[in-house]
Symmetry: C2
Subunit: 121 residues, 2 copies
DNA sequence: TAATTCAGTATACAAAAGTATAGCGATATA
DNA sequence: TATATCGCTATACTTTTGTATACTGAATTA
């Protein structure tokens, strides 16, 4: 992609693109989504396991964010009807592909730190 | 990068990486940063121009967010000591490279929409 | 029988983010 | 002289986001 888009480029940017970028940003929104995704990256976990994994998260927040991530197709909630029922949370296939995005974020962040703050933070 | 990292991979992830990713996320944080960056993408602008460009933003928010973006090395504030002084805001070189990140976000968002919601939103 | 675990929910509250509205000092224009 | 523009700041308020704490019902363990 060009560094500076022309005005024509900008104006022809379809609404679908804006929505898609927004979706991606939503995946990381708030204080807890990143930690939760990180916790599920290695493998699927149960509610209490995730809670133990993430210091200071309250069950209220964990519950809320898991629902949010599920609604956004990032996390899958799997119920095993054993007795007692056990519930597992896992990342979707789509979520695993987020690594491409995170890689680019890492890349930009590193170069930005180097070129802009030059070891000042 | 691999889809599923090993536990060793995860544990060896340096703190610097976490910070770098965080920096990148901060650039897009909140309701107005994306529109502001978008507004400056085509060319530099003055305070009131940006305000006219972004519907419903209040001067308080614009001022706050511009300061924030400046502190984060994304926007540069240039003062011309003409009479009266005019102030222009422009993206830094580093900020222009954000297009790489946004591209990936777009890519993921589009595939995610297609594979997950199949034209349901 | 009593305490513990699981997978959460309910309620109240505090803090952060965003909005609404008015105003300022300096200049410029009618 | 009166009004408008520029680049903001100040104050008060609302909304959203996150925290603290307690609790639930079903099952399990001591």
């Amino acid at each position: 992609m060009k560094l500076k888009p022309s005005l024509k480029d900008v104006k022809s940017c379809p609404m679908q693109y804006v929505l898609a970028i927004n979706d991606t940003l939503n995946v990381f929104n708030g204080k807890w989504k990143m930690p939760i995704i990180g916790s599920l990256l290695f493998d699927k976990k149960r509610f209490t396991e995730i809670q133990r994994n993430i210091p200071n998260i309250t069950p209220r927040m964990l519950s809320k964010e898991l629902k949010d991530l599920e609604a956004n197709g990032v996390v899958r909630r799997v119920v095993y009807d054993s007795i007692p029922v056990s519930v597992e949370y896992e990342l979707t296939e789509s979520a695993l592909l987020l690594s491409d995005v995170v890689d680019k974020m890492l890349e930009w962040g590193l170069q930005h730190r180097k070129s802009t703050f030059n070891s000042k933070r």
